[in-house]
């Protein structure tokens, strides 16, 4: 009885602490949205929210993959370049006249393969993820320009249909198919992290790799798996981006990895690993999206304010994580 009550009090005092960053992000999102609605009448239109999803669908997918990597305490700098490379490869292959289905398969295989290779190098040769994924980033970006120095338009029927298809209600509000794909990825990722063995291993390794190893958990396999997952998510993100822009450009998504990392951190995931949720990442992406929308609505503010505000938010959230004492190395 005493043990039980002790246990419950401990869970009660611990649970909220793990949830505080996510709740703070949620509050921030609501405040930002409230500011938008109070300032601009058009902001309350539900389509504004849908547009945030439409414009940031690919970012959301990539951020979900990054969440896995960051939960193990690693980092993946290659995602932005992999997104660009996937879009580039699909555009190139489509121009060469390959059928859309085959192009999809090939494009979706490249990212995970690169991720798998990076994971192997990180695990077997014990080189820091930062350096390995940095090399991966250079490699993928180099491949982009190797394929073509200029942007390649996509005219394929399947791609244009995916890009223009609008799913909506009679009152005119709609989302694109990309948004549904992004939601599907989020749902699968959230389920994987919360209810499967792989997901629990990810948290365990992020918490303490040595303990995870001593417990007999497959540290190596999991670590390679997360980089493969991140590569897969980046590949899906690349496909979504090519739906969105209907082209492959060598310099697209430059610096996207920073936005992604910022979204994950604002979403409450601790960069040393072991604590965080996919839901938080969704909120983090939404916060970035709403900030961009606000700045667009304002009109007098320039695009660089986005960066300054994101930097400020990063600082606030890291400080918050520090203050509520989530374990920081």
């Amino acid at each position: 009885m005493t043990t039980l009550s002790l246990l419950t009090t401990r869970t009660w005092s611990r649970l909220p602490r793990r949830h505080v960053p996510v709740l703070a992000t949620l509050v921030l999102l609501l405040v930002l949205y409230g500011v938008g609605v109070s300032q601009y009448r058009a902001f309350s239109n539900i389509q504004v929210i849908f547009n945030v999803f439409i414009d940031n669908g690919f970012l959301l997918v990539v951020a979900v993959g990054m969440t896995f990597v960051i939960l193990t305490g690693g980092i993946d700098l290659s995602v932005g370049s992999v997104v660009a490379m996937t879009a580039m490869v699909s555009a190139f292959l489509l121009r060469e006249g390959l059928p859309a289905a085959l192009v999809l398969v090939i494009a979706l295989l490249i990212g995970p393969t690169l991720g798998f290779l990076m994971g192997c190098v990180i695990h077997f040769f014990d080189i820091q993820p930062f350096i390995v994924t940095l090399a991966g980033m250079f490699f993928a970006r180099g491949m982009c320009t190797f394929i073509s120095g200029s942007s390649i338009p996509i005219t394929d029927g399947f791609w244009t249909r995916m890009s223009q298809e609008r799913i909506g209600n009679p009152s005119g509000n709609f989302v694109s198919i990309s948004v549904l794909i992004a939601f599907a990825v989020v749902a699968v990722a959230a389920y994987t992290l919360a209810y499967t063995r792989l997901g629990r291993n990810v948290y365990a390794i992020g918490g303490n790799p040595q303990s995870a190893l001593l417990m007999g958990l497959p540290v190596g396999r999991t670590r390679i798996a997360v980089y493969t997952i991140s590569g897969l998510c980046a590949a899906i993100g690349g496909i979504l981006l090519s739906f969105y822009t209907l082209s492959g450009a060598p310099l697209i998504a430059v610096g996207m990895e920073l936005d992604v990392i910022a979204a994950v951190v604002i979403g409450g995931t601790v960069l040393t690993g072991g604590s965080g949720y996919v839901f938080g990442t969704v909120l983090g992406v939404l916060v970035l999206g709403v900030i961009q929308t606000l700045i667009t609505f304002d009109g007098s503010l320039n695009s660089w304010w986005t960066k300054i505000v994101i930097g400020g938010l990063l600082f606030a959230f890291i400080l918050l994580q520090r203050l509520i004492g989530i374990r920081y190395k």
């Binding site: 350096i131 940095l134 320009t145 920073l258 040393t272 660089w304 986005t306 300054i308």
Partner: protein, 356 residues
């Protein structure tokens, strides 16, 4: 015989052996491709040639990498240097462009002082975040990396600020004693840092903080102060590099100045044999690494390959050098015979697991 083998082994296992080999191979490849590569000419009292160009262009990278070496030696990392280059360059150019006489030395000096001062303040901000508040360095500096780019664009108002100032231009393309001035600035910075770290106890203290900040503190070293200091030094180095970059093109572009220089600098440091986990550093190795990276870039340009594709080569070289230096990789090749009985020894190094 055994003596010779031992000598050979000592040579190949020296941490700078492979970077030097790669550098020599690159230079040799260049000479084969373009026979006139190594020639240095005297023209108008200045030395000209590809080698001199490589030296001149690598000066900003050497500066940034020097500061980065000290930061990495304490087990940290500074991602904000690229943004700091952009900010300091933008401030200096803005101040000069507001002068009535852009060629006045006094105005240029004030501009430099302003740029350096702001960079020092931002470096102190990084230092406070890491040393006082205790935020993980990669995130603490990520803040300024993202926001700093925005600040630089705010200063230049999104435009490319063009200036026409000879004294300022000299920092980038001027000459002194037949050699580019930039080389001397980088060399002077390297000598000052080397003197302070290797001729005083400072280097040892930095290494001990990187090895174990807590233990160093208990041993009577003010760890926090040292950590704070290295971020300020790194910012100062980045500021001077920013002056050089903007002086090179006589204009400040908040968006493009110093873009990705932090990655190049980290690569230079790693290639030079400094461990990202901290605890030891090699200034000579860093300079060699910076030269290697600049040679690679120049080689790719010289061979008429698109600059972006040069990233492909960079990736290959980085992975090759890192793999060769990685203990895990070496161990795997050292014991070729499969020993099934002994599972790979779990030498858990918690420091290595931290995402640097």
């Amino acid at each position: 015989m055994s003596n010779r083998t031992a000598g050979y082994r000592a040579l190949t296992t020296h941490r700078l052996f492979w970077p030097i080999v790669v550098l020599v191979v690159l230079l040799a490849a260049n000479t084969v491709y373009r026979p006139g590569f190594l020639s240095v000419q005297m023209r108008d009292g200045h030395l000209y040639g590809s080698l001199i160009d490589i030296l001149r262009l690598s000066a900003p990278l050497i500066l940034v990498a020097l500061g980065m070496t000290l930061v990495i030696a304490t087990g940290g990392i500074d991602l904000s240097v690229g943004s700091l280059c952009a900010i300091s360059g933008a401030i200096a150019c803005l101040h000069i462009s507001e002068q009535p006489d852009q060629n006045s030395v006094g105005g240029v000096l004030t501009a430099l002082a302003l740029g350096l001062g702001v960079a020092l303040v931002l470096g102190a901000w990084n230092g406070v975040l890491v040393a006082v508040i205790g935020i993980q360095p990669i995130i603490a500096t990520l803040i300024l990396m993202v926001a700093g780019r925005g600040l630089a664009q705010l200063i230049t108002e999104g435009q490319i600020l063009t200036i026409n100032s000879d004294p300022y231009k000299a920092i980038g393309v001027g000459h002194l004693l037949t050699l580019p001035l930039a080389i001397f600035i980088a060399l002077a910075a390297a000598l000052v840092v080397a003197a302070f770290t290797r001729r005083t106890a400072l280097g040892l203290i930095i290494e001990s903080v990187g090895g174990n900040a807590q233990a160093s503190r208990l041993a009577g070293i003010r760890s926090a102060r040292i950590t704070f200091l290295v971020y300020v030094i790194s910012a100062a180095c980045a500021a001077v590099a920013g002056f050089m970059m903007t002086a090179n093109v006589s204009s400040a572009d908040g968006n493009a100045a110093g873009l990705w220089v932090e990655l190049d600098a980290i690569l230079a440091v790693v290639i030079g044999g400094t461990s990202l986990a901290g605890g030891r550093f090699s200034l000579g190795g860093t300079i060699l690494g910076a030269l290697l990276i600049q040679t690679l870039t120049t080689t790719v340009y010289a061979m008429n390959i698109s600059p972006q594709t040069s990233l492909l080569f960079k990736a290959v070289v980085v992975i090759a050098v890192c793999l060769i230096q990685a203990p895990g990789f070496r161990a795997r090749f050292a014991r070729r015979r499969p020993s099934a009985a002994a599972p790979a020894p779990v030498t858990e190094q918690p420091k290595e697991q931290v995402p640097a």
